[in-house]
Amino acid sequence: MSKRKYVFSWELLGDIALGRPNLGPTTRVEVYRLMQFVFRDVLEQKFGTEKTDEIFYEAGKLAGFHFYKQMFGQIIDFEEFVRSLQKTLKFLGIGILRVEKADLAEGSFVLTVSEDLDCSGLPELDYEVCIYDEGFVAALMESFTGKKFKVKEVDCWCTGDRTCRFTAEMIKD
């Protein structure tokens, strides 16, 4: 690829306090979902379903890496990391994170996210939609542990499960 135009950096999110003195830093969930789902639609038309899913996973990962660096980069204790992550996700309205299983030594985790920003309240579909979240969670786990992770959404609001459940497994060498 020739010189890139859209390399992401946290600074690109801008000075929101300066730019939105009246409207503030929040917006409606519908607006976020509108953008995400039309992106998904157009990407699928251009590149097909599989490639679209791959792009969403990778985008989630990129976001997760930057999010971790920005919010949790100084934390070294795992329990403190989880506590901080729970608080931050709730505060930002991303979702209510709960841990079902956490085996740091084995690199095996089961996490649930209720009231998920991406999917809670969506009509019932016959597939899981939180692929962006999968990448996001994978990046958080990888950033904290320094190991590669595969994250899979096994239950989703959209498949009638009311809460999103993710398994995160460390990829062993």
């Binding site: 709960r98 956490a102 089961v110 019932e124 499960d161 009311r162 809460t163």
Partner: protein, 338 residues
């Protein structure tokens, strides 16, 4: 349909149209026969579902009219899945899989996720993380959170109390210096280190001169004030690595790790000068204070012998003899045991 047929028969009878009455009556009779069959099938279906839900053992066979019905099969599989899941849950199995989707499946999975999270939170509390709070499960959550809060308070009280007793056991309440008991604890470690490494540890024993006279002249409160001020001056004259203790009455002892007697003598003289350089003021009354000091040294031999209190006692005794000599030869001086 049923109502329409009745109306038609009624209208035909009004018109005395017997042919129509006969025809419609026949249809009505067939309708009743058909619907009676349907009613029987519905009854059998409901009974089968009820049995699948309630029988202690899951039914192994169902009415033959239903067996080939795909929707019925799916429903029975769902019921079986819920039965296994809920039965597992009732026995405390929190990892039983549930394939069912939809409202009921979702609600059960949410309950399972919450219970699993609760287990994880309990493990975290067990590890000492008292920040965990349950934000689901209604009244149980309130009780659980109260319990965690009380555990945290109890743990803090215990920890404060341990700290308090530790302080009481090691600190002299008047001067804030370590006490005699703590001195022996530390001295055993330092003497052992010196013994293994063939290094020196020195002791300085200090006694305030004419302290009884201070008490008799100015009162015990003034005497206590002098003890506190001497402690401060003593502490300020020593290094951070030195251990300073009140040994009893007006007597103090300092343990100087990695220090030979020659060096310790210089430090002892610095202490002496700091104590005498300015009078100690009590209620604006100047009290001139001096101290006599005895110095001794313990030198390790590089052996694995672990020093005992008797070894420390001997070095203290040496310092005491030197102190006695300092008192005998005029006070306000430092004497080193040769």
């Amino acid at each position: 349909m049923f109502e329409q047929l009745l109306q038609d028969i009624y209208d035909a009878a009004e018109r005395e149209d017997l042919l129509t009455v006969r025809e419609k009556s026949k249809k009505l009779s067939n309708y009743n026969a058909d619907h009676s069959e349907n009613a029987d099938l519905a009854f059998e279906t409901i009974s089968a579902i009820r049995a699948a839900l309630n029988n202690p053992n899951f039914p192994s066979d169902f009415p033959k009219q239903l067996v080939g019905n795909e929707e019925f099969k799916k429903l029975i599989l769902d019921i079986n899945s819920i039965r296994s899941f809920v039965f597992g849950l009732s026995k405390g199995e929190l990892s039983h899989p549930l394939k069912l989707k939809g409202f009921l499946g979702g609600a059960l999975k949410t309950l399972q996720a919450n219970l699993n999270h609760l287990s994880w939170q309990t493990k975290m509390i067990d590890k000492g993380d008292f920040t965990q709070r349950v934000d689901f499960m209604g009244e149980f959550a309130d009780s659980f959170n109260d319990m965690v809060h009380q555990l945290e308070s109890a743990r803090k009280e215990l920890s404060d109390s341990q700290e308090k007793y530790r302080t009481l056991a090691t600190i002299d309440p008047l001067t804030g210096l370590y006490n005699r008991r703590y001195f022996f604890e530390v001295a055993l470690k330092e003497f052992s280190r010196s013994e293994r490494a063939s290094r020196s540890t020195s002791l300085i024993l200090l006694d305030i001169d004419f302290f009884k006279k201070t008490n008799d002249t100015y009162g015990h409160a003034a005497g206590d004030h002098v003890l506190k001020e001497v402690s401060t001056r003593l502490l300020n004259s020593l290094r951070l690595s030195d251990i300073t203790c009140r040994f009893g009455g007006e007597e103090f002892i300092a343990l100087l790790p990695e220090t030979n007697a020659e060096h310790a003598e210089k430090i002892a003289d610095r202490i002496r000068l700091n104590i005498m350089k300015e009078p100690i003021f009590y209620n604006n009354i100047p009290i001139n204070t001096t101290a006599s000091l005895g110095v001794s040294e313990f030198h390790g031999t590089g052996s694995e012998h672990v020093p005992e209190e008797a070894d420390i006692g001997k070095t203290i005794n040496d310092a005491d003899l030197a102190l006695y000599k300092a008192k005998e030869t005029g006070r306000n001086k430092v004497v080193v045991t040769i």
